[in-house]
């Protein structure tokens, strides 16, 4: 059973009185452990597909399954539970809370799951060390570089051990080398921990790092292929 499955999913936004189709009949399935990229130009529907999979938005039409369960019509409270426990998010702009330190930003994910303060601190420090931020735990986002901030965001997404991490243009705000480091880290976590990654990008160099490349254009899947050679992000 695929971890995520979209069956003929449509999403239309209302811009004033004019409907704007963002996703038009997308069908795809994502297996556990995949390291896949959603690629396409700006406005092709990448973010909308990620939001739909993450339960942040509902499809206008079609069915969306998470671990075999139809989440298309799930009430908001249950979708929140799903995000809280099983899905990790990484954003283009890092979206860290500026008044919290690195370790506290990571702890935020665990606080929502009701962990004790001791466990929260222990687990967050471990994951920060794992993403290469040992020694920077008490720095606030403004005291970190862009790459370091994105590492904190990755740690925040991964600390709760989600089944899938959805990353929306995770390298778009980073220079090439830093972006490559972030992709290396994600690929490494995918390989060592088996976490499923689905990330969006419009950068061809980033697309090359994925093991599976799903190309979107104008809200439709125009290509979906496995990349056997460089897919491990090495």
């Amino acid at each position: 059973m695929p971890l995520v499955e979209l069956r003929d999913v449509y999403k239309t936004f209302q811009n004033g009185v004019a409907p704007v189709p963002a996703v038009q009949g997308v069908s795809l399935a994502l297996e556990r452990g995949e390291f896949a990229a959603l690629a396409g130009p700006s406005g092709s529907g990448k973010t909308t597909v990620l939001n739909l999979i993450g339960g942040l938005d509902r499809p206008t039409e079609g069915r969306l399954f998470f671990d075999g369960r139809d989440i298309s019509e799930l009430p908001e409270t249950e979708r929140t539970q799903l995000r809280r426990r099983r899905i990790g998010f990484i954003f283009q702009t890092f979206s860290l809370i500026p008044v919290l330190s690195s370790v506290e930003n990571v702890e935020l994910s665990l606080a929502l799951l009701g962990f004790t303060t001791t466990d929260m601190r222990r687990m967050s420090l471990e994951i920060l060390e794992h993403v290469g931020l040992k020694g920077l735990e008490n720095r606030r986002p403004a005291q970190l570089s862009g790459g370091q901030q994105q590492r904190v965001a990755i740690a925040r997404a991964l600390v709760k051990d989600p089944e899938i991490v959805l990353a929306d243009e995770p390298t778009a705000n980073l220079d090439h080398d830093t972006g490559a480091e972030i992709l290396d880290l994600m690929a490494d976590l995918n390989r060592t921990q088996g976490t499923t990654f689905l990330f969006s990008t419009h950068d061809p160099k980033v697309m090359e790092r994925a093991r599976r490349l799903i190309l979107l254009d104008d809200g439709r899947v125009v290509s979906d292929r496995t990349v056997p050679s460089r897919g491990e992000g090495t």
Partner: protein, 425 residues
Amino acid sequence: MRGDWIFAARLAFRSLGRNRKRSAITLAAVGLSVAFLFLELGFVAGLEEQSVNTLIDQDYGHLKIVPPDYDPMEPVYDSLLAVDDFPPSLLDLPGVTAAAPRLKFPSLVSDGLDQFPTLGYGLDLERDVEVFALDQTPLIGRFWAPGERGIVIGGGVAETFRLDPDSVAAGGVFLTLVGRSAAGAYGAFDLPVLGVIRTGYPPIDRSGVLAPLELAQELLAAPGLVSEITLRMESVSSGDTDRLQAAQKALQVRLSQAGLQAEVWTWRELAADYLAILNVRKVSSNIASLFFVLIAVMGVANSVLIAAFERTKEVGMLRALGMRSTEIMWQFLYEGAVLGLVGGMIGGALGGAAVLYLQQVGLNLTALYGDIELALPIKDVLYAHFRLDHLLAMIAGATLLSALAAYFPARRTAKLNPADALRAK
């Protein structure tokens, strides 16, 4: 310990630092309103305490025995009591420490040219100071020595006759005191004015003439008669109505059993009109202060509203992480509450320090208002009264009101669709 509440509280406190200028302005608004309100309440509490003390210390005591037809609103002093009917054994109730008779009487005072109506007070000085505080009251000049004939006049009477208190104290000033007996016969004595007194109690200060009890009885042809007997009780606080009423009842029963036609009044019953004036003042100044509080609360609402707008994207991120909309709302409510709590504590510290200072030093009302009388039984210097329960209630109130003020912006933000929030610029 579960980390979510601690985390939420920590985030709420830290959020004060996101926009320091805005937080500082909001905290200043909350702090100043709390400080102002506490100062105002401190003065009202001080006013109440001083007023009550003055009433008890100068005229009402704790319990008063009067003739049955006594009307505290319009006393006429037609009926009198025979002081020998009330021996110490009759008045020896638990908690009663002293009793003193007074003979109050409508009088006239004349300097030979002008005459003015006054209220005479015949005092048994030795017993009087056991109940009242005339001996601790500012007096220019002196009271009469035992057996001496002379009067002490209120400051207002001295002003009416344009008498300089210092020249009064130096001696040689005489006034004629006129009184009327129960049979209607007038008596008049030329008496030396021995001193000028300022008690803070308007009836004595404005028109009081204090004289030895025997002299007053002689003037009114009323030997052995008094208009009232006042009792002092030990450690009766102004709010201690139960003990007071119990003593009143017990005394009334004793008087009835002794076959005496007399009534017992508590100071609260006698002071009903003053207490009503105090209450009106309290309510009106509280209403005025509420405007300051409302402005501060609007500041909190505005602060949270702007913060919520600015952090729409962050709210989207929190929703993506799995924070429920109610948790988002609570987060903003906490932030409002923290503004109220910290502002309240700052205001409490400022207001508390000011009240403690003014409790020691006081506020000179003469300097503020000149000679205008405030119609309240207080002296020239008003002392604030520090009340910890007021302070804690105000900090708690500021916290609660600020959380309430944050409710609407918080609710609006919590209702945002997570994807819409993430798309916000």
